[in-house]
């Protein structure tokens, strides 16, 4: 069961629409593509776990109508030019960029894959309510599967900046397809790999492994203060079970088909309401990150 997180003290950034230049657009392994977009405001303001709505330009005769939601994998705010000092040589200014990684699954992402470097992409963002570390968090466990890794990487960035010791489960079909290894290395995040290939992504196996990894007795192996997860729905349940065992907060990022990304089209309501007269929370505006707890039996 997911529930809307209590209102945060930190205000959310105002989404902007932008016409962002494509700086990098390249394959990542066999199944994914990396996009680096120049968008100063979003790079500066986006919070961990927020997403963009990307308007896919027409490709061939095919027009894509609905924008596609994509997690902000990495934020790199602009840096000003710096003159040479005693500490180092001069550096040029860099524009603010965000990095996305996506899989080509259907018409929209296939058309997106045709956008050339140097071209522009219209987008709206940053959108949604992202991950937020509870006060006094010292250690965190992040779990991402497939492109879901992009959903939690922003939290790893925040953790690195805040000195939170972080472990991230990178789950995927096979070792070659795991996303996020380099990012984790850069951010000083301990990686646990889990693949379908060797069975290590199996839910029961993974659970046992994580319970051992954080057995609470060995020093340095105390359970994390928070669990953050993005990927398959079953992983959110696993995280909720771990959270219940460890008595810590679990935050899960959900997906939904979206049209507006802003909260007015009601296309993305999560299927969690039991009362037919009450709508589930909106994944785009109340989420995508929710508190995940085990359903009360």
């Amino acid at each position: 069961m997911v529930s809307v997180r209590p209102r945060s003290a930190v205000p959310r950034p105002q989404p902007v629409w932008d016409d962002a230049e494509v700086l990098v657009h390249e394959p990542v392994g066999e199944r994914y593509r990396r996009l680096v977009l120049a968008c100063d405001t979003i790079a500066r303001t986006a919070q961990a776990g927020q997403f963009l709505m990307i308007t896919v330009p027409p490709s061939g005769g095919d027009t894509i109508l609905l924008p596609r939601p994509m997690a902000i994998h990495r934020r790199r705010p602009a840096t000003p030019a710096r003159p040479a000092t005693a500490h180092g040589p001069a550096t040029a200014a860099t524009p603010g960029t965000v990095e996305l990684i996506y899989g080509t699954v259907g018409r929209g992402t296939r058309a997106l894959a045709a956008v050339p470097v140097g071209g522009n992409l219209q987008l709206t963002g940053p959108l949604g309510r992202g991950f937020e570390f509870p006060a006094a968090t010292r250690t965190a466990l992040l779990i991402g599967r497939g492109v879901g890794v992009c959903g939690v990487m922003g939290a790893a960035e925040d953790a690195a900046a805040a000195g939170i010791r972080t472990t991230m489960v990178l789950s995927g079909r096979n070792p070659q397809q795991l996303l996020g290894r380099t990012d984790c290395a850069e951010l000083g995040v301990t990686v646990l790999e889990a693949t379908d290939h060797d069975g290590s992504s199996d839910l029961a196996a993974l659970k046992t492994r994580l319970l051992t990894e954080f057995d609470g007795t060995t020093p340095g192996r105390t359970p994390p203060d928070v669990v953050m997860v993005c990927g398959a729905g079953v992983l959110a349940r696993l995280a909720a079970e771990l959270g219940a065992d460890w008595g810590v907060t679990v935050q899960a990022s959900l997906e939904a088909h979206m049209a507006c990304g802003l909260g007015y089209c009601h296309g993305c309501a999560a299927p969690v309401s039991t009362d037919p007269s009450v709508e589930g929370p909106l994944v785009c505006a109340d989420g995508p990150v929710f508190d995940a707890v085990l359903p009360v039996v």
């Binding site: 405001t41 609905l66 007015y264 009601h266 309501a269």
Partner: protein
């Protein structure tokens, strides 16, 4: 509901677009372009508005809403509704299909949460009203009190008093709905008609005769998208409404027939995504257009069309869309 937009505004990326609004001073010497349109007692300065369900006050911070003729709310029902199960929407070639199911907090909930945010925008609010019996519409309009600049009656709703066919497919039911609403408000009434009707002319005439100030033609077309791989319905509700470019040739015919059948203005709605789409509808008799699906990918598209219409008039040296169409039309 949590309020969506809490944070500071960073207008930098939008500055250029907002600034592109034609400066009235620049027009000195140019002919006066008048794009205004009257819907009953309401005058819109431009014939562009969003389609119901495809706009929210959240857009107020992203687009210059003042450049629209009006805003239109998502349909408000009399009682609270949760909407349909997931998936609620999907995209197919040249269209999207939605089965949001119109979640609603009822008129009281609407007035408490959404309306103040609409009222804060710099355009008149058209409140869309729905019902599942012909008797359900007037009480909602009455409950909305004096709020809203006009009411759009969404009659593409199954009539639970009859066999579940749309209220809007039955001219007699349309008449009942409009006559009852007419008794509780003096504000303009727009009747938004469905596509699957035996005679759009009869439906439009029923609305006009019962006192409507305009008809909106049309709503999305019921459709059933299947997953290409599993062949299972994609939508939780199995059936949804098809909207976007692929319905335009179908709706063009309906607008043409409706505008020959009634004297009140016809507002066209279906697949508008460009100045030319709008002009196509004007050329078959529409007085205004609504933009739905196209605005998800291009939130500024309705404003762009409004600007584009004005620019075409300026370029052609004419003062109105009618004159522009006469010029455009070769003999």
């Amino acid at each position: 509901m949590v309020a969506l937009l809490e944070g500071p505004v960073f207008p930098d990326a939008r500055a250029a677009f907002f600034a592109a609004a034609p400066d009235p001073l620049d027009l000195a010497g140019a002919p006066a372009v008048d794009l205004s349109v009257r819907i009953g007692s309401l005058t819109l300065h431009t014939p562009l508005m969003p389609a119901s369900g495809c706009f929210g006050p959240e857009l107020g911070a992203l687009i210059p809403v003042a450049e629209l003729g009006a805003t239109v709310t998502k349909t408000v029902f009399g009682s609270a509704r949760g909407g349909n199960p997931v998936h609620r929407l999907t995209e197919i070639p040249a269209g999207m299909v939605n089965s949001v199911g119109i979640p609603s907090h009822g008129p009281v909930g609407y007035l408490a949460t959404l309306h103040p945010r609409y009222a804060a925008l710099d355009a008149p609010t058209v409140i869309s009203v729905g019902g599942h019996r012909t008797s359900e519409y007037a009480p909602v309009v009455a409950a909305l009190g004096e709020h809203g600049a006009a009411y759009e009656l969404n009659v593409s709703c199954p009539n639970l008093d009859r066999d579940g066919t749309d209220i809007g497919s039955d001219p007699a039911a349309i008449r009942e709905v409009v006559a009852a609403v007419r008794l509780v408000t003096d504000k303009p009434i727009i009747v938004k008609l469905p596509v699957l009707v035996a005679s759009i002319a009869a439906c439009a005439r029923a609305a006009e005769e019962a006192g409507a100030d305009a008809v909106c033609v049309a709503n999305s077309i019921p459709a059933m998208p299947l997953d290409a791989l599993t062949r299972r319905p994609i939508l939780g509700n199995v059936i949804g409404g098809l909207s976007g470019p692929s319905i335009k040739p179908i709706v063009l015919r309906l607008v043409w027939l409706a505008s020959r059948a009634v004297q009140i203005p016809v507002i066209a709605c279906g697949g508008v995504g460009s100045v030319d789409d709008a002009l196509d509808y004007f050329s078959v008799g529409a007085s205004a257009v609504q933009v739905g699906t196209a605005s998800f990918g291009r939130p500024f598209v309705a404003v762009e069309i409004a600007r584009g219409l004005r620019q075409r008039c300026l370029d052609a040296g004419v003062g109105s869309i009618r004159e522009l169409l006469e010029l455009d039309a070769p003999r």
